[in-house]
Subunit: 205 residues, 2 copies
């Protein structure tokens, strides 16, 4: 019912299936769009500037920080990652639901700046499934898998900082996508987001 779009933050362990589930969300409802992050890391093969990331220099990123052009940013493995204000504000005004797929600390920055944002943690049903998915990729070293599993444990401890928990069961990504669509639809019905309704109710048109 609300006309402005919703800012939807999705975090969760590497291996939870965020990419798959969020692509299904966007295919099912074209009102959902990704926010493209800015980063100082180098593009990987096949990554396109402006599509997968806005690839910028360290100098440019630090200028963004100084100018307050970012709504959240973090440094990870020696690279900056962040979300440009310009990337999300116009889309929200157009009524798009903007998806930020970001880490926990970025999510906390978003929640404090955009109290109406919806924070969703996407997880596997259990630890075994997460481990199996990470190993199943076959591209990760044992050390990398351990690091990702440890990180997942840290993230789960912060679950209560999120508004919603969605479980991505094996072969049920569509269900997880529908759960996310349902959560955002419900948020659109929150009375806090419809404070203008009584006035419209009584308006003579």
């Amino acid at each position: 019912m609300a006309e402005k779009g919703t800012l939807v933050v999705v975090s969760g362990p590497s291996g939870a299936g965020k990419g798959t589930v969020l692509n299904l969300v966007m295919e099912t409802d074209p009102r959902f769009v990704y926010s493209v992050s800015a980063t100082t890391r180098a593009p990987r093969e096949g990554e396109i500037d402006g599509v997968h990331y806005h690839f910028v220099t360290r100098e440019t990123f630090e200028e963004y920080i100084r100018e307050g052009a970012l709504v959240e940013h973090t440094e990870y493995s020696g690279n900056y990652y962040g979300t440009l204000k310009s990337e999300i504000e116009g889309k929200l005004e157009e009524g798009k639901n903007v998806i930020l797929e970001i880490e926990v600390d970025g999510a906390m920055q978003i929640k404090s700046k955009f109290p109406d944002s919806v924070l969703i943690m996407l997880v596997t049903p259990d630890y075994k499934t997460l481990e199996a998915r990470l190993r199943g990729r076959g591209t990760n070293t044992e050390e990398d898998i351990r690091r990702r599993l440890d990180r997942a444990c840290e993230e789960l401890k912060l679950m209560d900082q999120y508004d919603f928990l969605v479980i991505n069961y094996d072969n049920m990504a569509q269900k997880a996508a529908e759960d996310i669509l349902g959560i955002v639809s419900a948020e659109e019905h929150a009375t806090a987001r419809n404070a203008g309704f009584p006035e419209r109710f009584f308006a003579e048109d």
Copy 2:
């Protein structure tokens, strides 16, 4: 994901279509059941004790009050109306989503006793539609219509005491029912209702 059912309070003006919409909710998802209110008013033609209401004497109702057997109650037009604790607690434990179709003051009592309950206000899109529906019934006197419209205005002022607003557009009761189903489904994903998840995540089964 939560195994216990959700207490769903639905209020809204007479003429909003609560009965139609809530019947569709229950037909669509059998996990939803009505709570049968207790009342001291006399049964109307066709009303069955234990189905439409628990019809009780004034003495019995006042005993319920003294014993704390009611989770909410109110007096209206000289009659008591209330919800028996026994009517809802067992059903919630069974995983049923229990619907209370009650007035605003009862809703406030429920919210304070059951903070996890979901309060939904169901309304017509505007005042003109509400008036047309009340007149369309043909069974109400002009005085009765005026009284119900005044009451609707009072109720709308309390909208922000509710969690969600659902609009029942003309000929779109199924959409309103789906909105309610979506809201309750989203609530089941609230992290506050899934505090036990991290433990289950790490459990060796």
